[in-house]
Amino acid sequence: MWRQTIQARFSKLWAYLFTGSMILFSLFPVYWVLTVSLKSKRDSLSNPPLWLFEPVTSSYTKIWNHDTFKDTFFNSIIITLIGIALSLAIALPTAYALVRLRLRGKNLVGIWLILAYMLPEFLFVLPMFSLYQWTGLYDTHLGLALMYQVHVLPLSIWLLSSFFREINPAIDEAARIEGCSNWQILTRIYIPCTLPGLVATAILNAIWIWNELAIALGLTFSNAQTVTLGVTSFRGYAALDWGAMTAASIIAIIPMLLFAAVAQKHIVKGLTLGAVKG
């Protein structure tokens, strides 16, 4: 009996210790990079690294006034918004049809979505590169958003489907008897009923689009470069200017941290559902 209690205590203590060290492991790099971004150039290059220093914001003001970094930040906002709007506009009716409407070959669409989800980025970036140059979509916000929309579509459809599936199908029937068309059921009942799920889907899409690199690298040149490319541009002279590199990184992270703070529950739900579907 005694032994068991001690064992239980120890196992609990270990759980706290382990969780604590993993939290440290997760947070420390971000903390460290934040400190580097606030160091003066001399402090950032000191050996051994400084734990205590006088914070300065010169790196931030410098990169914010940098020729293109600010533009990439706002490009990313625009592209993310267009991408989310497009993907939801396409995913909503599709999810509704897959969940509630009688349709031959529904399963086939599902399998196709899984396949599209698995394909590596460069398989379609290169063909799209040619198509985009030909159609003039290359290096445009819309062109990039179109590709992003495509990439987040499968996950959006899975997430929305699982939210829709939670709605009692009798509600459809009741609405049908009241005289609703499919479209009215979707817009007047399903969408209002799953608003939190819709927001969760949008947030997950936003995180994915905001953080994407390979497609942006392949399909933009200057006009529509995203923030990930903006950060990448500081990679070259990294050893010389850690301040700029870390400050750019922190700026790129901030919107995602805001999302995580507001919508942690939604993100967890989205990730979990996405995993179960995928």
Partner: protein, 292 residues
């Protein structure tokens, strides 16, 4: 007439999925057919476009560099996935044991997941710097190092694996924690009443129920790590030499630096086939686990 109604019903349903179908055609049928056609040519983005048959494929398969790249990719995928699964699952079990509101704990542990791959890569460059980086400074306290990390062929790949572990372990953790919390309580309590130890309860009751979910996470992570690009591109760019070159950085280089689109597309087609067969194999394994 009843038949007419039925077709009318499914016609409206068809319009509901029409945009999605269009998107799928636009983004999978077109690129795949384009890819297959171009992979049979020696196109270089320019005017030169000759049919070369399977030359690109044959050249690739006989090119030792290609096999090094494939080997690197698979090594990376397997080691990163293995560590992430073990660490993430173990962490989920430990956090679940705490039995306290874990919202804040989960939020802190999830932080890396919110960071984009390229930012993770640049952050790691700052920390892994051989001379001024904090990591070398810290491990010196334990009498290890200093290490060149990305600078040396021997350590570059492990460094990238470590970065991916930092980045993606939380994914495994979040899903497995949700899985653990979703377990039915009754069988566990029944086992406790029967006097089973926590160890037995975990391996005999909880783990078997979670096995299918765990396998799903393995599939997702394997496919994701096979497709790795950002963190390699942002850190070593494939070097030193070929030490960390993976398929997607190899293709990027082939297409954009060397302008060999035919070869790049041939690589992508082969690689997609590899991913497809791996995921089919894993999914059939999962079906077996589910039915047993």
């Amino acid at each position: 007439m009843a038949k007419a109604l039925q077709t009318l019903g499914s016609l409206s349903a068809f319009w509901f999925i029409f945009p999605c179908l269009l998107t799928l055609i636009f983004t999978s049928v077109y690129p795949v057919s384009f890819g297959i056609i171009v992979s049979l040519t020696n196109w270089n983005w320019g005017n030169q476009l000759d049919y070369v048959g399977f030359e690109n494929y044959l050249n690739l398969l006989s090119d030792p560099e290609f096999w090094v790249v494939v080997g690197n990719t698979i090594t990376f995928a397997i080691s990163a996935t293995a560590i992430e699964i073990a660490l993430g699952f173990y962490l989920a079990v430990q956090v679940e044991k705490l039995r306290i509101p874990t919202e804040l704990i989960r939020a802190m542990l999830m932080l890396p997941l919110m960071v984009s791959g390229i930012v993770v890569a640049l952050m790691s460059k700052v920390m892994f710097d051989p001379f001024l980086g904090i990591i070398n400074h810290l491990i010196r306290i334990f009498g290890i190092g200093p290490s060149a990390f990305y600078g040396a062929a021997k350590t570059a790949m492990s460094s990238i694996v470590a970065v991916d572990v930092w980045w993606q372990t939380a994914f495994v953790f979040v899903i497995m924690l949700a899985g653990l919390r979703g377990l039915p309580n009754d069988p566990i309590e029944a086992a406790r009443v029967e006097g089973a130890s926590e160890f037995t309860i975990f391996w005999k009751i909880r783990f078997p129920i979670l096995r299918s979910l765990l396998l799903t996470v393995v599939i997702i992570r394997i496919i994701d790590t096979l497709k790795v690009f950002d963190i390699v591109f942002g850190t070593t760019g494939g070097g030193p030499g070929l030490a960390t070159e993976v398929v997607q950085t190899f293709v990027y280089r082939t297409a954009y630096s060397y302008q060999q689109i035919g070869k790049a597309m041939a690589t992508m087609i082969l690689f997609s086939l590899l991913i497809l067969s791996i995921s089919i194999a894993l999914q059939s394994l999962q079906r077996k686990v589910e039915s047993s």
